[in-house]
Amino acid sequence: MSLNVTGLHVGYATAQVLHGVDFTIGENETVALLGRNGMGKTTLVRAICGLRPPTITAGGITFGGVDITKRSSHQISRLGIAIVPQGRRVFGSLTTLENLSVIPQRKEIAGERWTVERVFEFFPRLAERQSSMARSLSGGEQQMLAIGRALMTNPSLLIMDEPSEGLAPSVLDVIHDRIEGLRGTGLSTLIAEQNVDLALDMADRVIILDDSGTIPWSGRADELRTDAALLERYLSI
């Protein structure tokens, strides 16, 4: 299913952040959302997932043809959009295992269903810590758990807000490979990232946010990788 964002304006009580954002994510596609700190990546991600604040002041979002602009977050989730929130936000007073098993699973999915075992296979470290309280996990372990938790909903669009934060380099490879492996099962991915190398490796396409609150550039990942001027201009690399 594809995501369509058109003319999206989003803001908080105190400030308007996004001033007209348009893009789409097609089936099986991985899109990277790049931008410096504070440009509105999280704001966009939250708007898509129905998390308030911020509020959508204009424009619309459809997913698989369904208008989700005004839907509440649990309804959006049931349509197949899962989020790995920024800052992990695991359920601290639940054990690792409970964090996964508490998630309601969608039935209607194409590929192989996600189970707790499958997540543990993905991140063996979590299996070792399955009965620890999530709040006592290390930062990286929490990040793995947040990713595993999102997968447990059996999403068709996985939105990850800085999944690489706090993860050891070798784990990034694992994530890269596994997400790559999930393509073709119908899973699309939107990944907001600061680790540009990782993002460009994983993504087919890239959209960039800048301080105008719009998308000044979007295009193929390899285009961006090789264009030093663009990298310098929007990402200061």
Binding site: N37, L137, M144, G166, A168, L172
Partner: protein, 262 residues
Amino acid sequence: MAPASDPRGSGAGAPVLVIEDLGKRYGGVQAVDGISLVLEPGERFGVIGPNGAGKTTLFKMIAGDVTPTAGAVHLFGRDVTTMSTARRARMGVGRTFQISNLFREMTVLDNVRVAARGGTATARVFWRPQRAKDDASQRSLAALESVGLADRRDLTVANLSHGEQRQLEIAMALVGEPSILLLDEPAAGLSAAERTTLKALIEGLPRSLPILLIEHDMTLALGLTDRVMCMENGHHVVTGSPAEVRENETVREIYLGRRDKK
């Protein structure tokens, strides 16, 4: 309580931090196991290792948040193993938290001000407005400037983006003018541009300031430090110069990613 003698001046060669056979056990989890380490004055020391290796726990034992189940910690020549966090902070331990730990309902500038006054008598002043243009306020502004948050100073922290909160975290550690600095993944959540600023910022700190740095960004972890230790599952794996560690077989196998190996 002021430190017995000025830590930075004390016996030029005496190690600032000595860790002996330190261990921490949580129920069935041995988070840190037999780590020893000596940090010389002015040394910059990196700690790396897979997730859950025990890096943060090690920091917490140095800072005083967690009491070790084995071994001892000496700071500036004093045994501080059971000393409270606050007293260690007043001895000059400055630190950042891996998971941002900020005053969410206060403004950015007030966060830094409270940090700037930490451990000093000025924090107890109750008859003057805290927003006065005193020394603490000036240092706070400078610290915000240095991490690039000056234009955000009047926002409430809860309204900051994640990366901005990470920057604030660093500013709060620096503003207290610590005698030893513990940085737990300072670059996490920062964009490439901000990372460059951070790198320059750390490089620009006085050479006399000893720094312990946990990072998963190898450019920083290996680029900013004189020596690096790699841990795994609480154990010590290897300690050496950044180059040695990068080439170490075990480190490459358990920790480094494709992009770093190149």
